[in-house]
Amino acid sequence: MSFLNNVITGVSLGSIYAIIALGYTMVYGIAKMLNFAHGDVIMVGAYVCFFAMNSAGLPPVVGVLLAIVVCTALGVVIERLAYKPLRAAPSLAVLITAIGVSYLLQNGAQILWGAATKTFTPIVSTDPDARLVLIPGQLSISYVAILSIVCCVVVMAALTLFTGQTKMGKAMRACSEDKGAAQLMGINVNSTISMTFAIGSALAAVAGVLMCSAYPILSPTTGSLPGIRAFTAAVFGGIGSIPGALLGGVLLGVIETFAKAYISTDLSDAVVFAVLIIVLLVRPAGLMGKYVPEKV
């Protein structure tokens, strides 16, 4: 049964990775940049929710909504101020800027909220008894795990519908393929990029709250490690691909949990990255990354 328990833990952790990975992969798909500040937006979301619940005494739902609103705005502002002026700059300049924004957010959080770690109040009960018991005494799922998996499924379904069926979503796909041609269709590329950042950052807020509910330690660097793992998940699944982010995230969560359970807690990251290297050697575009040959 411990195997099944590990699978459940892995999938729920992976669901959170997948939600974060979506932010990386969508922004990469449209803006062709790696937004390394994405992980820190997660942290901001978690802090907003924390203060809404603990200082203002608001109910968890309001805390989450507030975190989504703040992170969405933050994402759009970051894009507007830091990345948009560099639209024509070499990608290395954008990458360095993203790393700079990441430090700015971490240090800003430290000034505003202090460096000391805070204990996050989970938005659903994590009491050891408050679990969905499948087989008494052997197999059970915590409510946070259930919530993470449900959120991930809902987000995936919503995004699939959005990019596949709506005009705005199709315009987004058009932009990700060819911005010049998209412009010729009358699509406003700048507002499309803004919207991508808005969606990605809103998802980061959700992921931040879920992450901190499952692992209730909050500090200004809370977002960086999950951010990097989720970025790995995005590459793993094929960066730019939305189903790839789901697959990469879940696999990464499961591999990480298994490595911790059966190999060594200390080596879990090493195992994760070893698997990534092997996947990239065999499939350089990632598991679901597509290579479309150009016709002339």
Partner: protein
């Protein structure tokens, strides 16, 4: 309809377009011909706002385009079918066409789709197919159909025959003739001078960023200098 007056375009230090002026009247097919690198595509990209001229003016339907961003040109009635087709390879044929109608009211799209499918029956057969799997000729048809989806007053075609087998080139020019007969105003950029001049009302010859000759399609087809340089003697 379109009036281009003395434009100068630079790529960094390179002076690519040197004082080019031309115009396209309502219902005409006008062609810009010239060798590789003469500045044909640069001229088109400047007209549609992707590049900018340092001097002169571009007027479309009496409106100065200087301050109009590229993504607003479609709304004004200008459709640009770019060089190399640049269809959205990972989207389906129908999604590509829908993107062409991005600025159009939703209600008019089904009728437009029908019209384009009538013009290009092959696209209708393949409407659910991913565009990257089409042949080169079909992709060109898709690019042109996508341009027509916005009900353009002016259709600009950049090298529609590029890279196509001779029989497909014939087909593409047949379509251009049909569109012309249906009243579409077309600005056609081509390296295939003979084909372009045979369908055009008027033509301009571009050479290293300057217009060196102009006349009706027939005049240019029989012009000695043009014959020598572009029509193989």
């Amino acid at each position: 309809m379109l009036k281009v007056n003395d434009i100068n375009v630079y790529y960094g230090a390179i002076h690519a377009i040197k004082g080019v002026s031309f115009e396209v009247n309502d219902g005409e097919v006008v062609t810009l011909i010239g060798a590789n690198g003469a500045g044909k595509s640069t001229t088109l990209n400047t007209v549609c706002g992707l590049l900018h001229s340092r001097t002169g003016s571009i007027e479309f339907l009496g409106r100065n385009l200087a301050a109009v961003p590229a993504h607003k040109m479609v709304e004004l009635g200008m459709a640009h079918v770019p060089e190399g087709r640049r269809i959205f390879q990972q989207m389906t044929v129908e999604e590509n066409l829908e993107m062409g109608a991005y600025t159009q009211p939703r209600a008019g799209i089904p009728a437009n789709l029908e019209r384009v499918y009538e013009q290009f029956p092959r696209l209708k057969e393949r409407r659910r197919q991913v565009a990257g799997t089409l042949s080169g000729g079909e992709q060109q048809m898709l690019a042109m159909g996508r341009g027509l989806m916005s009900n353009p007053k002016l259709l600009m075609l950049d090298e529609p025959s590029m890279g196509l087998a001779p029989i497909l080139v014939e087909q593409i020019f047949e379509i251009i003739k049909r569109l012309h007969q249906a009243g579409t105003t077309i600005l056609l950029v081509e390296q295939n001078a003979r084909m372009a001049l045979s369908v055009a009302d008027r033509g301009y010859v571009l050479e290293t960023g300057k217009i060196v000759a102009t006349g009706t399609g027939d005049e240019l087809l029989h012009d000695e200098a043009v014959k020598k340089a572009y029509l193989g003697g």
